[in-house]
């Protein structure tokens, strides 16, 4: 197991074209309360800024991007290029309201995953659990079950 003494760090923020601040603040509070060091980049954050933050905090376990305005795909379009350039190599979790309109057909998730998004969450309350799972997997690499 990893040391319990070092504080776990996550980077969070809201996608580039999105100014929804409320859920972002609540998630930051929830994670801080759970003992995380939260680097909150806030609303309207370009993907490039998430990559820069990861350089500044290389120990971050994950990058969490919220998107509530339906423009998640547009806002994350540069992800393959960034990854190809060797940037943003850590689990990328996206959540929120992922496409325009009230009808969700699941297509939006496939499109985001095809960009290289690692995990998509429907509920913010699932975040600590997912982070714990990722953390455990990293501490004890899966070698085939």
């Amino acid at each position: 197991m990893s040391s319990r003494k070092t504080q776990r760090t996550v980077i969070i923020g809201v996608a580039r074209s999105d100014a929804h601040a409320v859920a972002n603040h609540l998630i930051a509070m929830r994670l801080r309360e759970a003992g995380f060091c939260v680097v909150n980049l806030g609303v309207c954050t370009p993907l490039e800024d998430f990559a820069d933050a990861l350089v500044a905090h290389p120990d971050a376990e994950a990058v969490l991007i919220g998107s509530l305005n339906g423009h998640a795909y547009e806002d994350l379009r540069d992800l393959p290029a960034l990854r190809a350039a060797g940037r943003l190599h850590c689990p990328l979790i996206v959540g929120g309201n992922l496409s325009v309109g009230s009808h969700k057909d699941g297509d939006e998730r496939e499109r985001l995953l095809s960009l290289g998004v690692d995990h998509i969450l429907d509920e913010a309350d699932q975040i600590p659990l997912l982070l714990d799972l990722l953390h455990a997997a990293r501490a004890t690499p899966l070698t085939g079950v």
């Binding site: 100014a19 859920a23 806030g42 309207c44």
Partner: protein, 483 residues
């Protein structure tokens, strides 16, 4: 070049303005009632005037919207809501969008249309017009507004920065607004009173009343020191009537305590700014409730909502209905309504105490603007859910069992022990279990009026589907779900 006193305006915009003396002459010669006169009359009668929000991109469409609202609903004051490109000084993008597709603008690009069209709008209606926007730096917009003859202008260096911009320093926004306020001061010396409205609504979601009032008191002090003589102080309806009335009635009291005597103050209520019910009947009830709260709180003005709020920007029809519903609550029809004055009094005491604890250390500093900037940097002033990185947003608001908004976590706000204890007592929360459900709980507080809507719909379903199989609460809920 512009010869506007006090105001530094981009040369491109300045070059299009009329001479200053001409603007002054136009405002003086206007036969219309000034906004300050409408507010004075409303305050004297004890009945708030109603003001809608409205703004569309095209000029003809804007004129039609204003004249339609005036003809069919007679609001006391009208509005031009400005598009977001103009708010951020992206005048070129505003112009391009206007040329390509005016309907893509979420408001009227006044700087792009220019002061001549502004005057045309001004002259097309009897009611005075206020410019509402959300600019951290409104200098060009203010110059064109004045040249258009609009003498009511919303915003301030804190309240139009933190909720609207990600990274504009408070030093910069306060300095830009100070120029606006100094020009208002010069105008006041010449006998032209500009109504400057402060946007205490802030991020509009669960704003603790003392945060709203403290921000406005500080902005009002800065504005009055710059020479402003008429201030409207807007407070957002939180939804618990005693708390809302206490906040509105505290505005003149706080003004007497912290502002010079020669400033006129008008309390304003923004009808509920949070998540609005989609059911038109419930939305109408909430609009009526807002109007009633405004009157009971002694507001001079109420900004109405519409029953299309849940769906986005309303059409003219819905806005007409919203204005009329809010106005109905301000007639004598509901004069019999009384609230529990002892509860209001208790709220008032604690609210004013909280405001004092927030503003007095800042007001004691020699340089007010610098003290505001420092206090926000340290978290001694703070707003919840800030869009800007220049507020820490460590404050967590929470509704108590009555629906009143309290501090679950006051962050670094410099509250006294009794103040903290009062908040604790009102909330009476089990923090251990709350911490696991925090996001859900606060989301539920934000959706306060959706719960009322759900109960109403469940009741209606029971009434509409009577019969032996449909009488229990479970049956009501399930038929409510089908609707």
């Amino acid at each position: 070049m512009s010869d506007l006193p006090e105001l530094d305006v981009e040369p491109r915009v300045a070059a299009m303005l009329p001479p200053w003396t001409e603007t002054m002459q136009y405002i003086r010669k206007s036969p219309k009632r000034a906004p300050v006169e409408v507010l004075r009359a409303a305050a004297a009668r004890g009945r708030p005037v109603v003001q809608p929000r409205c703004g569309v991109g095209g000029h003809d469409e804007m004129r039609t919207l204003l004249t339609t609202l005036e003809r069919r609903a007679r609001p006391g004051i009208l509005t031009i809501t400005i598009d977001s490109f103009t708010r951020l000084k992206q005048f070129r993008t505003a112009a391009q969008t206007l040329q390509r597709e005016p309907a893509d603008l979420n408001g009227y690009p006044l700087v792009t249309h220019g002061w001549r069209r502004g005057r045309e709008l001004n002259e097309s209606v009897d009611a005075p017009i206020e410019v509402r926007h959300g600019s951290p730096d409104p200098r060009e917009l203010f110059a064109v507004s004045l040249a258009s003859g609009f003498t009511s202008f919303e915003g301030g260096g804190i309240d139009y920065n933190l909720p609207y911009s990600k990274d504009v320093s408070l030093t910069r926004s306060l300095a830009a607004w100070a120029q606006v306020d100094r020009l208002c001061g010069l105008l006041a010396e010449e006998g032209v009173i500009v109504d400057r409205e402060l946007f205490g609504t802030l991020t509009a979601v669960l704003v603790p009343p003392s945060v709203s009032l403290a921000v406005c008191v500080l902005e009002a002090r800065a504005a009055s020191l710059a020479g402003v003589r008429c201030l409207s102080i807007a407070y957002p309806q939180g939804g618990e009537v005693h708390q809302d009335i206490a906040a509105l009635r505290s505005i003149p009291v706080l003004a007497r305590r912290y502002l010079p005597e020669n400033v006129e103050i008008f309390p304003v209520l923004h009808e509920f700014m949070g998540v609005f019910p989609a059911d038109p009947d419930v939305a109408d009830a909430l609009i009526l409730y807002g109007g009633l709260t405004a009157r009971l709180g002694g507001a001079a003005k109420v900004i109405n909502k519409t029953n299309q709020e849940a769906r986005g920007i309303p059409d003219a029809q819905a806005n007409v209905a919203g204005i009329r519903t809010a106005a109905l609550a301000c007639t004598d029809l509901l004069d019999f309504v009384r609230v529990d004055e002892a509860t209001v009094e208790e709220e008032t005491y604690w609210l004013q105490r909280e405001v004092a604890e927030l503003v007095e250390p800042v007001l004691a500093a020699p340089d007010l603007a610098a003290a505001i900037v420092d206090a926000f940097a340290d978290g001694r002033l703070d707003i919840p859910f800030s869009a800007s990185v220049h507020a820490r947003s460590e404050v967590i608001p929470k509704r108590d069992a009555t629906g009143a908004i309290r501090y679950l976590n006051p962050g670094r706000l410099p509250f006294s022990r009794p103040t903290l204890r009062r908040n604790e007592q009102c909330l009476r929360v089990d923090r251990a279990s709350l911490s696991r459900r925090l996001i859900d709980e606060i989301r539920s507080d934000i959706n306060f009026f959706l719960h009322a809507e759900r109960r109403f719909q469940a009741d209606r379903a029971t009434v509409e589907c009577p019969g032996p199989a449909n009488t229990g609460p479970g049956a009501a809920a399930s038929s409510g779900g089908v609707r």
